[in-house]
């Protein structure tokens, strides 16, 4: 009996030891003990994210520059959607990290709604170098009610890529300059046995909505005004319905079968494997054209880049870094320094040269090194500079609940269960829930 009791006591002691070990607080970092302000920075720019090396480099440079004063500790939150979900939970509890990256998920409005965003206006006004990096477009993206709440590092200039070899096979000499010509080219490609477009419907249908938005923006002045509206509510307009009809045609006639329910990866693979002749996407895709695990070694030579018909290009800074209100004023100051550093001309140039990221500010020079590294990007930027119409993309301005709705409704638009008017009504109904 004594033996058993002893064994039981040992087991209990082991369990308690194990649990206390699991719950033990991590040792304070030496930096924190020395009075260094530590900025815990959660980011989805890790793993295979194309911006991950740039962020790592910036963190390393920041920690070196501010050694003994500030230190950034990176927290990986792999997966864009996971990051957004986590920030939303933290928003609910009011326990936000000092710096948030708004990216294409319009987190700024959510943070402002909870009155947790720091007004950066006085800091930007006090620093002429920082202020000079804000273009009008950047101010529009990162300001609300005349106050600056965020700072951009990257621009979102998006056109489309086409396969020059497939175009040549179909006898097409150059990208279309009008929408009628584009649809004519689709017919020509189809007649030559080539699938004209790589499209998707899942995960907010990024590629498909790029084509839709480009058609809306160039349909009329009202269409352009719609695209320039933040969180539009009414999708029941003539230009949206008529362009949704064209999207229906694209899905039904000009794309691969796996586009319906397919994700970005499927569309990208269809283009990279030469199964589709065109894909709408941004310069971040350029690296994939020479990635031999995704395509053939000579594929990069076959790719051309264009702006959309009627002289349109997506051109808007991506919503940038937001500083959130903290109990500790020193932490808030450190966060502001971090945002300033991460969006400086140097940081924007680093992103350009390391990963081909388009700088948010037009005043940042496109260096010769970058042009040599990314000739397709240089070609695109030249063409983009000739665009006559530009705006932000639909995904960046629509209510966040519509990102799911568009993925749900596009397959129904494809199948004919919904007509264009019904599709736009579904979008309007979903927007009304906000």
């Amino acid at each position: 009996m004594k033996k058993r009791l002893f064994a039981f006591a040992l087991l209990a002691a082991m369990l308690v030891g194990l649990l206390s070990g699991c719950g033990a607080k991590k040792a304070e970092t030496p930096a924190a003990e020395d009075g260094v302000v530590v900025i815990n920075y959660p980011t989805f720019q890790c793993g295979v994210n194309t911006a991950a090396p740039v962020v790592d480099q910036l963190i390393s440079e920041f920690n070196e520059t501010y050694a003994g004063k500030y230190q950034i500790v990176k927290e990986d939150v792999p997966g864009d959607a996971n990051y957004v979900d986590k920030i939303k939970v933290q928003l609910g509890t009011g326990d936000l990290p000092p710096v948030i990256y708004g990216a294409g998920y319009n987190l700024l409005d959510l943070v402002i709604a909870k009155d947790l965003a720091v007004d950066l206006t006085p800091y930007v006004e006090a620093d002429p170098e920082w202020k000079a990096l804000y273009s009008d477009a950047s101010l529009a993206t990162n300001s609300r009610d005349g106050k600056i709440y965020a700072s951009s590092v990257e621009g979102s200039q998006v056109g489309y890529f086409y396969n020059k070899e497939l175009f040549a096979q179909a006898g097409i000499e150059a990208p279309a300059t009008t929408w009628d010509e584009l649809f004519q080219q689709c017919e020509t490609l189809k007649a030559a046995g080539i699938t004209p477009m790589a499209l998707d419907t899942a995960d907010s249908a990024w590629i498909t909505q790029l084509w839709w938005g480009a058609m809306v923006a160039t349909a009329s002045e009202d269409g352009l005004a719609f695209m320039q509206t933040m969180n539009p509510r009414d999708y029941n307009t003539p230009e949206l319905i008529s362009t949704a009809e064209k999207i229906q045609k694209m899905l039904q006639e000009y794309t691969t079968l796996d586009a319906i329910g397919g994700k970005y990866e499927n569309a990208a693979n269809n283009f990279l494997s030469g199964q589709a002749a065109m894909i709408a996407n941004g310069p971040w895709m350029i690296g994939d054209f020479s990635d031999t695990t995704k395509t053939t070694a000579d594929f990069a030579e076959k790719v051309g880049v264009a702006i959309y018909p009627d002289g349109f290009v997506y051109d808007a800074p991506i919503q940038g870094y937001i500083v959130t209100k903290q109990d500790d004023p020193k932490l808030e100051e450190a966060a502001i320094e971090m945002v300033k550093f991460f969006t400086s001309a140097h940081a924007q140039q680093l992103g350009l040269e390391m990963q081909g990221m388009v700088p948010a500010s037009p005043s940042v020079e496109i260096t010769d090194y970058a042009k040599e590294q990314y000739p397709l990007l240089a070609e695109f930027l030249d063409k983009a500079s000739e665009a006559t119409v530009s705006t932000d993309n639909m995904q960046a301005t629509m209510f966040s609940n519509l990102l799911d709705v568009i993925s749900q409704e596009l397959p129904r638009l494809y199948s004919g269960e919904l007509d264009a008017a019904g599709f736009c009504q579904a979008m309007t109904d979903a927007a009304a829930k906000n």
Partner: protein, 283 residues
């Protein structure tokens, strides 16, 4: 007694072939996903996306190298083992005690208390996120293994309670009465008489708790921020982003994650199966 296939009648032969065809089909259905994942870990991204069921063009270890480089998968694997094992032990130990009391003792509010504890079975995880996040933060257990252990133990409570109460109810009272007559106390009766009799239910509860905790993603993401407490499912998110993907590395990571579990199950399958069947006939 073995009967040669030649000695069977036509009807018996058809039944024999049908039986083996059915078993073969079941094996194929069970094995296909695992074989597909392992096969995909040797294919390029283009091969995976273009033709999912084709054979890999080479047996390059690049996917495995990338998987280990891109994400801290081995660290997360170790964390998963620690968290899941402790969760399972705590869950089964404490809920066996609770279930025994619910099954045997009569006290005021017993049914109401049992109903309240079982009610959490129907509360969706998303509704629990914010309150659990706040509580764990307040307790100072954010980003600790202990925080996850407590949450997982609690999440698995209703299911284990349901299984174990049913198991204890199905054990004849005569066994306890005999133990008491022989001079055993309450604790001794519970640990030495009732627990061995409830082995089947305990195994079922343990297996379910283990699997739920091993695969859990949302709380692991929300309640941790460093590498010290994160679990395996999180590591798989490192391989896909909105505009970039590395499926080869992802499938290599999945292979690394599942192979040890398969090996462990293969070694202990006899014990697991026998304890499950033992439980099914008791009572």
């Amino acid at each position: 007694m073995h009967t040669s296939f030649r000695n069977l009648t036509g009807k018996e032969r058809a039944a024999f072939i049908g039986k083996y065809l059915f078993m073969g089909l079941c094996s194929l259905v069970a094995l296909f996903p695992i074989v597909w994942v392992i096969m995909s870990s040797f294919k390029t991204n283009a091969e995976i996306l273009s033709n999912g069921i084709s054979l890999p063009s080479s047996l390059s270890p690049d996917g495995y190298i990338a998987a280990l480089t891109i994400s801290p998968i081995l660290k997360y694997f170790g964390n998963s083992v620690i968290i899941t094992v402790i969760t399972t032990i705590l869950n089964v130990l404490f809920l066996a005690m609770a279930a025994y009391v619910f099954a045997r003792c009569r006290f005021r509010g017993r049914n109401l208390l049992y109903f309240i504890l079982s009610l959490s079975l129907v509360v969706p995880t998303t509704a629990l996120l914010q309150p659990v996040y706040s509580v764990v933060n307040t307790l100072g257990l954010y980003d600790t293994k202990m925080g996850l252990v407590l949450v997982y133990t609690a999440i698995n409570m209703p299911m284990s309670l349901l299984i174990l109460r049913g198991t204890f109810q199905s054990i004849p009272r005569a066994l306890e009465e005999a133990a008491y007559l022989d001079g055993a106390g309450f604790l001794r009766t519970f640990f030495q008489i009732m627990m061995p009799c409830a082995k089947g239910g305990l195994t079922s509860a343990a297996v379910l708790t283990f699997l739920n905790s091993w695969n859990e993603f949302t709380f692991a993401l929300m309640l941790t921020n460093g590498q010290e407490a994160r679990t395996l499912p999180l590591s798989l998110s490192y391989f896909t982003a909105q505009f970039s993907f590395n499926y080869t590395a992802m499938f290599a990571a999945v292979t690394i994650a599942v192979i040890p579990s398969i090996i462990v199950f293969a070694i202990f399958q006899e014990q697991v199966v026998s304890s499950l069947t033992a439980g099914s006939v008791k009572g």
